[in-house]
Amino acid sequence: MKRLIMSTTFLILTLLSLEIGAMSEVGLSSLFSGDEMARFIFLHSRLPRTLAVILAAAGLSVAGLIMQSISRNKFMSPTTAGTTDAAALGLLISFVFLGHMSGYIQAIFAFIFALAGTLLFTAVINRLKIREVVYIPLLGMMYGGVLGAVATTIAFQFEAQQVLNQFNMGTFARLGNFDLVYVVIAPLVVAVIYATRFSIIGLGEDFAKNLGLNYNRVVMVGLVIVSLISASTFVAVGPLPFVGLIIPNMATSFYGDNLKKSIFDLMMFGAVFVLACDIASRLIIFPFEMNVSVTISLVGGVIFMVYLIRGMYGGKKSRKAA
């Protein structure tokens, strides 16, 4: 039932996303009409854009849940562990030192930085042994801020502030780099194969080892998946803040944490959320559009606050019960 409602909403939003645009006569129907121009716009703008939204959203949702399983912390996500900021730094460095390269080279830089940045953060967090889970996203956002400051300094030195500003705008209106979003498909396939392993890891290291899992390898596979997804979506569409945090939290409260059962529901849930935000961004000042990251930040930020506050009070409650 839940699934039926979700898939229907998903289909409606996908169709809406395909229909909306400055040229109102372009739409799904233009595929079959004789209008070559409309057909071209549909195939080269509308369709890739909608696909990019769906893939980026699905990817980030899965990436967030994997991070939360690995760290056993519901507040971990690419946004709250410095992954996105590290990807931005990598992208900037590739731009400053190598100039305009193809999206794939940029994505490789972003990926290496994202992976290194995330590894550093998780290593530090494990050392600190913080008991209050709500501090970890706050620390992670500070860490992200530091990485952002480094990026700004570099950009300032090389007079590349404009480029950096452009990187940090999440939008699906950028043409050209969209094909990078398809890179998300490969890590998503691996995530589906590893789904049970990630869930088992979420029950703790000893639990996983008891079942014969190679704990360190599964964690590493997870972090590579997360970094690949974060980096390729970042280069293709820019940051989509909070998606990796709030979507897994909302989805698991409906579908539970058994990733093998819920991974497709999770992806669809994320896609519905980002599609809705993207459509809203396009309609509010039609025929112009807002950056989707602004809309997502507004909606996602509020939801994040709710979870944060609930986490603070909920944490106290559960401690009393124990």
Binding site: S69, L203, G212
Partner: protein, 255 residues
């Protein structure tokens, strides 16, 4: 058969694990072996080494005569199941999900018909049929502990190691849990090694007791051999009073 020979594990004072020195032990088949001792005596470390969760620094552990370090971890997981004391649940899964994870060493996450049959059998055996679709955070502590035992059963190993399974359980559920453990040995021919805090539970249910002190085995034997003032007073650094009930030694430790 599991044999431990001259195991030593040393840790610096910052480590959360306790040191053990030169411990040798043969696990008795088809029996409940209880490990008792004060905090820091090394019971949990010994359990972790025996299950190869932490590799032994000195000495060796053999399962059926083969060094455990030479067996693939996925194969060890078909022989030995180990349930640790704390299960802080940060993820939301159902009882059935959990029990299905127990089949992981056998099917790698893709359950076949035989795996599903085994899962159902274990759920039935632990009387969890009605709770099988409930989330673990919706059921009581005792029911959750039963769900974890069902998972261990689904793992289908001859050896089961339990680290303080009675933690956070009230008396009713503790007794229920020990009866279940007893049934695992008498009905399913399992071999159980269990760390217990409450000495009287060990006295009442174990077939063999190992008393540890300062990282060494102080004394092992039948309950009536170990539950004596000569053994318990030094092991726990406390004055015990031993009485007899139904032919079993029971200890009183109130001043």
């Amino acid at each position: 058969m599991i044999e431990v020979k001259n195991i030593s594990q040393t840790y610096d004072s910052r480590s959360e694990r306790d040191t053990i020195t030169d411990v040798s032990l043969t696990v008795r088949e088809n029996t409940i072996t209880a490990l008792i001792g004060a905090n820091g005596a090394g019971k949990s470390t010994l359990l972790s080494v025996m299950t190869n969760l932490i590799p032994a620094k000195k000495g060796n552990v053999t399962i059926d005569g083969v060094d455990v370090r030479k067996i693939k971890t996925s194969e060890v997981a078909k022989k030995v199941a180990f349930l640790k004391q704390t299960h802080q649940l940060s993820i939301k899964i159902t009882v059935r999900d959990l029990v299905e994870y127990g089949r992981f060493p056998h099917c790698g996450g893709r359950l076949k018909d035989t795996d599903h049959a085994k899962v159902n059998e274990c759920i039935d055996y632990m009387n969890l049929e009605e709770l099988s679709e409930k989330y673990l955070d919706e059921i009581s502590g005792g029911q959750r502990q039963r769900a974890f035992i069902a998972m261990i059963l689904a793992q289908d190993t001859p050896y089961i190691f339990l680290d303080e399974p009675l933690n956070n359980l009230d008396i009713k559920y503790s007794v229920e849990m020990m009866k279940i453990v007893h049934k695992l040995v008498s009905e399913l021919d399992k071999t159980v090694v269990i760390v217990l805090h409450d000495i009287n539970f060990a006295a009442a249910y174990a077939g063999h007791i190992v008393a540890m002190k300062d990282g060494k085995i102080y004394k092992e034997g039948t309950p009536n051999e170990v539950i004596t003032t000569e053994v318990l007073n030094p092991v726990f650094d406390h004055d015990f009073h031993i009485t007899e009930h139904d032919g079993k030694n029971i200890c009183l430790y109130y001043d």
